[in-house]
């Protein structure tokens, strides 16, 4: 088994080898090329640079008759020859280079003509190109060989640094309409060696709607002429801005923190120092520096109001619209898709779907929106809207033309695109419900396949329409019965507790009644204001009461006898005191003047009543205590 497999593999390997051989042979002739390469297109006067003519392909060794262009404006050395040979994936390729070292003698723009070479029967020619020569500056000859650049003194001022390393922010237009695309480029120019660039502050695009344009990830320094000096330049950032409001708008500076290499120059002190001052030995110092770009000022003006179409929705740029439907003929309740594609350049993100005026019998669902943006050079792209349409009634349905309006920045006017109209033939759908799947969620689809539950065959309890049980008196009876029961219960309980707890107060009431009955005669005389009689009566009433209470025989009755009784002696001192004073008062009244007696009457009466109640209460308490 494994042997057989190996055999097959060897077989196929041979076939592949053969194929490679033939294809390689055939492509050899086509791959020949003769090109010119230059190390830098911008140079300063006197600076050396390389120019190489490269012949590549196979059998480059057979080339003859090389004709170099004239280098009349340059000092030229060469040509030096070099060749290379390589095999990649079994394919051989070789190249031969003829290299000249040139140096410009004066400033200006010079064209280097074409060189030619013969290979077999063919003659190859290079394209002519121009080289820009600028005046060499006194600060070294700048650029690629950064070691030779730098400052002449040990002190490096920031202004000197910023003269040699800066960021230029440039906009492709300084005034624009709202929604018009402006491309702002941030370019770093440097004449020094730089390291560790770090963005310290990104610009803020207030009043704009910004979209980044893709720039190469690796910063590749290119030589460029700026104000007559050679700089290494690189595009840091490119951004497409769309003003969202009118007025003077600013883009804040871009700030880049980087380290600049500066040479330390020593004083020349003889041969050794001269030797060590050679760039090879020179010491470098890294200085931190922040390169700051200029502020970009843009004057945004509002879109013209006249001739503004009613359906204009902020689309600015240049656009195309394409509308299509996927079917011309559908069944009732079956969905069809209408696709609207708007493509072009401009503020494509802000493009809204054109309004569709569908007949009432067609249901429209929210569109699926898709956006495809190309950020290579400015913002271009396309936006698609997929509408799901579901015709509900059969017959012919016309989808009216769609209108999309935008402001054309090139023509400087509003443009309205109009699509064609569509006729859709709707056939009668099958079944009652074979339809609404389009607008239903997943759960609803499951429900669509289910039937309703069966009717209830149990005999229902019918009630009269609008008849609430709250209207029936029976309900109220049932509702109120427990309420009354609770009320009755509470009332009964309250009475019972009253009777239980207030037995003592009942006794007091009895004692009061007793006292009043005993002093009835006294009350009479009090009302009639019979002063002398009152005191006699009250005295005899009190004695009578005490005689009854403590069962003292009438013959023994006297003040001393009363206070000698055991019951009185054991009473509270207050009670004894008030009894004593009441009896005293009665006694003294006999000798007191009439006017004094009159005043003391009421007081004595109520005092006597209280006295009797107190005695009764104390006796009752004593009785309980004995129990």
């Amino acid at each position: 088994m494994s042997f057989k497999l190996l055999w097959v593999n060897i077989n196929s390997f041979l076939i592949v080898c053969a194929l490679l051989f033939f294809s390689g042979a055939s492509s050899d002739i086509l791959a020949q090329s003769f090109t010119v390469e230059v190390s830098s297109k911008v140079v300063s006067v006197g600076e050396q640079f390389q120019l190489s003519f490269v012949l590549s392909g196979s059998n480059v060794g057979n080339a003859t008759g090389f004709q170099p262009p004239s280098f009349k404006d340059f000092r030229a050395n060469g040509p030096f020859q070099s060749s290379s040979f390589q095999v990649v994936n079994g394919r051989t390729s070789a190249s031969q280079s003829l290299v000249y070292t040139l140096a410009a003698t004066s400033k200006g723009k010079f064209t280097i003509g074409s060189a030619s070479i013969n290979l077999g029967s063919q003659t190859f020619k290079t394209a002519p190109f121009t080289i820009e020569v600028v005046e060499s500056s006194n600060k070294g000859n700048a650029g690629g060989n950064a070691k030779s650049s730098g400052t002449t003194s040990n002190q490096v001022s920031t202004s000197q640094l910023s003269e040699n390393c800066f960021i230029i922010a440039s906009a492709d237009k300084s005034s624009a309409l709202v929604g018009e695309q402006i491309i702002v480029t941030y370019k770093l120019f440097t004449r020094m060696q730089i390291a560790q660039p770090q963005i310290s502050k990104l610009p803020s695009y207030k009043g704009f709607w910004a979209e980044e344009i893709s720039t190469p990830q690796v910063l590749n320094l290119q030589r460029e002429n700026y104000n007559g000096k050679v700089f290494s330049a690189v595009v840091l950032k490119k951004v497409a801005l769309f003003p969202s409001q009118s007025g003077a708008l600013d883009v804040t500076p871009f700030k880049l923190k980087l380290k600049v290499a500066i040479e330390k120059k020593r004083k020349s002190q003889g041969f050794f120092d001269d030797f060590f001052n050679d760039p090879f030995f020179q010491q470098q110092e890294l200085v931190e520096f922040e390169a700051v770009s200029n502020t970009v000022k843009i004057n945004a003006s509002a879109l013209p109001d006249d001739k503004k179409p009613a359906n204009f929705t902020n689309a600015v740029g240049s656009y195309k619209m394409d509308v299509s439907i996927d079917k011309q003929k559908v069944k009732q309740h079956d969905p069809l898709t209408m696709k609207i594609t708007i493509s072009g350049s401009g503020n494509i993100q802000l493009v809204e779907a054109p309004e569709i005026n569908l007949p009432a019998s067609v249901d429209k669902f929210d569109p699926k929106t898709n956006m495809d943006i190309n950020r290579a050079a400015g913002i271009t792209g396309k936006k698609t809207f997929d509408y799901l349409l579901v015709p509900r009634s059969e017959g012919k349905v016309e989808i009216p033309p769609l209108k999309f309006s935008y402001y054309d920045t090139k023509k400087k006017s509003y443009e309205t695109l109009t699509s064609q109209s569509f006729m859709v033939e709707v056939e009668k759908g099958e079944g009652q419900f074979a339809n609404v799947t389009a607008n239903s969620g997943k759960e609803d689809v499951v429900l669509l396949n289910q039937d309703i539950r069966y009717i209830k065959t149990k005999e229902p309890s019918l009630q009269s329409i609008g008849g609430y049980s709250i209207y029936k008196p029976f309900t109220w009876m049932l509702l109120l019965a427990p309420v009354f029961a609770v009320a009755g219960l509470l009332f009964y309980k309250r009475r019972e507790t009253l009777l239980l707890s207030d037995l003592t107060s009942l006794k007091t009431r009895k004692a009061e009644k007793l006292a009043k009955s005993k002093l009835k005669a006294a009350e009479k005389t009090l009302k009639l204001e019979q002063v002398d009689q009152f005191y006699t009566v009250i005295s005899s009433s009190l004695f009578g009461y005490l005689e009854d209470k403590f069962s003292i025989p009438k013959a023994e009755l006297s003040r001393d006898r009363i206070f000698d009784t055991v019951e009185i002696k054991t009473m509270k001192s207050e009670t004894i005191l008030s009894l004593r004073s009441a009896l005293d008062e009665c006694e003294f009244a006999r000798f007191a003047p009439v006017e004094d007696k009159r005043q003391g009457m009421q007081g004595l009466y109520s005092k006597s009543i209280k006295l009797i109640i107190d005695i009764e209460a104390e006796l009752l308490e004593k009785k309980r205590g004995m129990k």
Partner: protein, 246 residues
């Protein structure tokens, strides 16, 4: 005596209604849904209703494909027994087949919660709850008063207070439920397609188009027009004959 007579009369009517309903059920079984609807309707016309009757009527309408009336009858059945599972299920099935799938605007959660509580039982249901809780309350009060130990007294006091809370809340809920039942401000669209207008006139512009079976709220009435509000908040005027009040 008069009371007894009227009671007997009502019972007789009820019995007649029940036999008509079973006629309708037989018609439904044999697939004659139109006849079933007629039978059920005659019972309703005689002034009687029940949740089951509305449910069966809704089923018969559903089988005929008249979803608007099916929804209407299910909604009526729900107003009598709001938590009937069969009714809720069939209403869900019917709703899935409606053309309008309007998602309601979200409401404050407390409001929806209270609303569902009010709808949990019918007005009668809440009345019965009140009745039962009052009886329990009375019993607990008695037990509390005559409890032998303080521990039992405490227990019964807690019981009494909680039942009292139930009593109070069921009184509140009866009022709410009764109000929402008698308000009659919900309706179901019964016409296949209805164009809602800006103002109560046929010559006005259309605001939106709705289809049968949609439950709408009635905000205002003007001669032959209703001002309706959809569950997503849209408002328009439709003719009175396009919808039936639940």
């Amino acid at each position: 005596m008069r009371l007894l007579l009227s009671f007997l009369f009502l019972t007789a009517l009820c019995l007649a209604g029940n036999s008509t309903i079973s006629d309708g059920n037989n018609a439904y079984k044999s697939g004659n849904f139109q006849l079933a609807i007629e039978k059920y309707d005659s019972v309703l016309a005689s002034g009687f209703c029940s949740s089951e009757l509305y449910y069966n009527t809704g089923n018969a309408y559903f089988k005929q494909g008249r979803l608007g009336y099916a929804v209407l009858n299910y909604e009526r059945a729900l107003s009598l027994s709001p938590s009937d599972e069969d009714v809720l299920f069939n209403l869900k099935i019917t709703r899935a087949r409606l053309k309008d799938n309007i998602s309601p605007t979200p409401q404050f959660f407390l409001y929806t919660w209270l609303n569902s509580l009010v709808l949990f039982l019918s007005a009668d249901g809440w009345t019965y709850l009140l009745m039962i809780s009052l009886f329990v309350f009375a019993i607990l009060v008695y037990l509390f008063i005559y409890a032998s130990s303080t521990r039992l007294r405490k227990l019964f006091l807690i019981g009494t207070v909680s039942v009292l809370l139930i009593v109070i809340s069921s009184i509140v809920l009866i009022t709410f439920r009764y109000k929402s039942d008698t308000k009659k401000d919900w309706a179901v669209i019964t016409n296949l397609i209805v164009q809602a207008k800006f103002a109560p006139s046929n010559s006005e512009k259309d605001v939106f188009v709705i289809h049968e079976g949609l439950k709408v709220k009635i905000d205002e009435v003007e001669s032959d027009w209703y001002k309706i509000r959809l569950s997503d908040g849209k408002v328009g005027w439709v003719a009175k004959n396009c919808l039936v009040i639940i």
